[in-house]
C-alpha cells in the first residue's frame, strides 16, 4: 500500500495494520501505536471517535489519509487541529512534519482536557465536603467551623483526604 511505503520512507515505523474494526481499543493498546493513520472514509473512524468521546480510551492522534482533497480542505482540517491529512502522492519528506503537527496539537488538546477535568473534580469534591459539613451541623448540632474542624480531624486521624471522609459520612446515614 502506497501509504505504508510513504510512512516507512518518511522514517515512521508501521507497528500494525488493522483491516477489521473489531475491538479497536485493545488493538491500539497492544500495538503500542503513537498515531493512528486511517482513510478519510474508513467506517472505523466512528469507532475511533467513540473511543475518544465516550471512554477516553487509549487516546491517540488520528492522521487521515485522503486520496484526493482540495488544498483548502486540508488546510482547514489542519487548522482545526482535529486531524492532519496526508494526501496520496505527498512527498515522503512532507509526511513526517504532518505527523508531528498532529501529535503536537493532540497533546496540547489532551493537556487542556486534563486541566478541565481536574477543575471539575475539584468542584465536585468541594460540594461533597459542604454537604457532609451540613449534615454534621444538623445531626450533631455543631456550628459550621466546628463541623469543619471535626471533618478535618477525622481525615487527619485516618490519613485520608477530606472528600473521602465526607463521602463516608454521607454514605452512613
Amino acid at each position: 500500500m502506497a501509504v505504508e511505503a510513504g510512512l516507512a520512507a518518511s522514517g515512521c515505523t508501521v507497528v500494525a495494520i488493522e483491516t477489521g474494526t473489531a475491538d479497536l481499543t485493545r488493538r491500539v493498546r497492544d500495538s503500542g501505536a503513537e498515531v493512528i493513520v486511517c482513510g478519510l472514509d474508513d467506517p472505523s473512524r466512528d469507532e475511533i471517535e467513540g473511543m475518544r468521546a465516550l471512554h477516553r480510551d487509549e487516546p491517540r492522534p488520528v492522521v487521515l489519509f485522503a486520496e484526493k482533497a482540495e488544498p483548502a480542505q486540508i488546510e482547514a482540517a489542519i487548522e482545526a487541529g482535529v486531524a492532519a491529512y496526508i494526501v496520496e502522492g505527498l512527498a515522503p519528506a512532507r509526511v513526517r512534519p504532518v505527523m508531528e503537527v498532529a501529535i503536537r496539537s493532540f497533546r496540547a488538546t489532551q493537556a487542556l482536557r486534563a486541566e478541565a477535568a481536574e477543575a471539575r473534580r475539584g468542584l465536585a469534591e468541594q460540594k461533597l465536603v459542604d454537604r457532609a459539613k451540613a449534615q454534621l451541623m444538623q445531626r450533631q448540632r455543631l456550628s459550621e467551623p466546628e463541623a469543619y474542624k471535626r471533618l478535618r480531624r477525622m481525615a487527619m486521624d485516618r490519613g485520608v483526604r477530606l472528600p473521602v471522609i465526607a463521602g463516608e459520612i454521607l454514605d452512613e446515614k
Binding site: A22, R45, G50, L54, G81, V82, L128, G167
Partner: protein
C-alpha cells in the same frame, strides 16, 4: 421509474423558471430516515425546483461530518446533536450550520442479542428500563465482561436517549455497562459475532439483525421520547449565504418528499426507491417494517414519520443540549444561544410557504431530565 403525479404539487411556478446555478453536494448515511433525500432525488423533486443535486452515500458519521466541515459537501443528513457539537467545536471540528428541516421523528430501535435475551428471560414489549436493570444486575454476577451496547455516534440521539433510559432505572451508563460506537450498517454483523450484546440504531438495521436471527428489537426510541426529532437536514452557513434560493428550494423539495412518504399508498414505491439506491442487500420486507410501524411482530406506539418532523424546533434541540451537558460532553463555556443557533425555523417557513404547508402544532414536551445522583 413510473410517472408519479404529485398531489398538490410543490412546484410553484417561480421555482420552475429559476435558472439552474450550481450543484448542491449532499451527503447521507444509509438509513431509512434518509428517505426524504432519496425520494426527492428519485421522484425528480429536486429537478422540479430547479436544483441540481449530487447525493453521496457516506460510510459513517465522522467522514460525513468532516466533509461538511471542510467544504467537500454543502449539506447533509445529520444526527440531531451533531449541529450542536459542530457549533461548539467539540473534538476540534467547528462548522456553523443551518438546520432548515427535520428528516424524521422516532425510528431508532434497541436490538438485543439472542444470548442476552435468553439471560433476561421473559420480557414485555416495549422493554422497561426497570426490567432491563433487574436483568443486568442478575446477569452481572456470572458475566465475564461488562455488557456492551453500541450506539451510532457519540453525539447521537441514540446515545442520549439510551443514557436517559438507563439512568431512569438508576443505571450509570459509564459504569454499569459499556457503550461503544459502531457505524449503523455494521451493527447486525457485530451482534451476530457476539462483539456487542445489543445496539441502538436507526432502521433498517434493527429489522435487518432480527431478520437474520441475530437478535430481536425490544424497544423503539419513540417509546423513550414519543415523536422525538431524529435526523436533521443541515446546510453549511457558507451555502446558506451564497445560495439562499437553492437552500429554500432544496428544503421545499424535502418537505414535499416527506409529505409523499407519509401517505401509506406510497410505501411500496418508497421501499423500492430505498432498496435500489442504498440497500441492495436487504429484503423489501425488512425495509418495509419501519414504514408499517412494526418492530418484529410488535406495533410501535410512536413509529417513524416524516412530515411532522420537517419543522425544525430549537426548543426540542435544547433537550439534546441538556443531555450533552449532563454527561459532560459540552464544556461549561458554551451558551445555549451558540449551541442552538443552527436551528433555523425561518428558513423552513420560507420553503413551506411555497408549498402552502402549515406549521405543525407543537408536539408534547420531551421527557423530564433524570437528575444526576449527587455522588462523588
Amino acid at each position: 421509474m413510473s410517472e408519479i403525479a404529485l398531489p398538490d404539487s410543490p412546484l410553484a411556478a417561480p421555482a420552475l423558471s429559476r435558472a439552474r446555478t450550481r450543484t448542491l453536494r449532499i451527503g447521507f448515511v444509509p438509513l431509512t430516515d434518509a428517505a426524504p433525500l432519496l425520494v426527492a432525488e428519485a421522484l425528480g423533486l429536486f429537478d422540479h425546483v430547479g436544483l441540481r443535486v449530487n447525493l453521496s452515500a457516506e460510510t459513517a458519521w465522522a467522514p460525513l461530518r468532516d466533509k461538511l466541515a471542510f467544504g467537500a459537501l454543502d449539506a447533509a443528513q445529520l444526527l440531531g446533536p451533531m449541529p450542536i457539537a459542530l457549533a461548539a467545536g467539540l473534538d476540534g471540528v467547528q462548522a456553523p450550520l443551518a438546520v432548515t428541516a427535520g428528516l424524521g421523528v422516532n425510528g431508532n430501535t434497541l436490538t438485543l442479542s439472542r444470548a442476552l435475551l435468553h439471560d433476561l428471560g421473559r420480557i414485555g414489549y416495549p422493554l422497561s428500563a426497570a426490567a432491563f436493570a433487574q436483568g443486568l444486575r442478575r446477569r452481572r454476577r456470572g458475566a465475564s465482561r461488562p455488557l456492551t451496547i453500541a450506539v451510532v455516534f457519540p453525539y447521537s440521539s441514540h446515545n442520549y436517549l439510551l443514557r436517559h433510559w438507563l439512568a431512569s432505572a438508576g443505571l450509570d451508563p459509564d459504569r454499569d455497562l459499556r457503550l461503544v460506537v459502531v457505524p449503523p450498517p455494521l451493527m447486525p454483523d457485530r451482534l451476530r459475532d457476539g462483539q456487542i450484546d445489543g445496539f441502538c440504531a436507526g432502521e433498517p438495521w434493527g429489522s435487518a439483525a432480527a431478520a437474520e436471527g441475530a437478535g430481536a428489537i425490544v424497544l423503539g426510541s419513540g417509546d423513550i421520547w414519543p415523536n422525538h426529532p431524529e435526523k436533521v437536514f443541515a446546510v453549511t452557513a457558507e451555502a446558506a449565504t451564497a445560495a439562499p434560493d437553492d437552500v429554500t428550494a432544496c428544503t421545499a423539495a424535502l418537505i414535499a418528499a416527506a409529505r409523499w412518504l407519509d401517505d401509506p399508498a406510497n410505501h411500496t414505491e418508497a421501499v423500492e426507491i430505498l432498496r435500489r439506491r442504498a440497500f441492495a442487500d436487504l429484503s423489501a420486507e425488512t425495509l418495509r417494517a419501519a414504514f408499517d410501524g412494526l418492530a418484529g411482530n410488535e406495533v410501535q406506539a410512536a413509529p417513524l414519520r416524516f412530515l411532522p418532523a420537517t419543522f425544525p424546533r430549537r426548543d426540542e434541540a435544547a433537550w439534546w443540549l441538556r443531555q450533552m451537558r449532563r454527561w459532560g460532553h459540552v464544556p461549561a463555556g458554551v451558551s445555549d444561544a451558540t449551541a442552538l443557533a443552527p436551528w433555523r425555523a425561518d428558513l423552513w417557513r420560507a420553503a413551506a410557504l411555497r408549498l402552502r404547508v402549515a406549521e405543525p402544532p407543537a408536539p408534547p414536551p420531551p421527557p423530564a431530565d433524570v437528575l444526576r445522583e449527587t455522588q462523588p
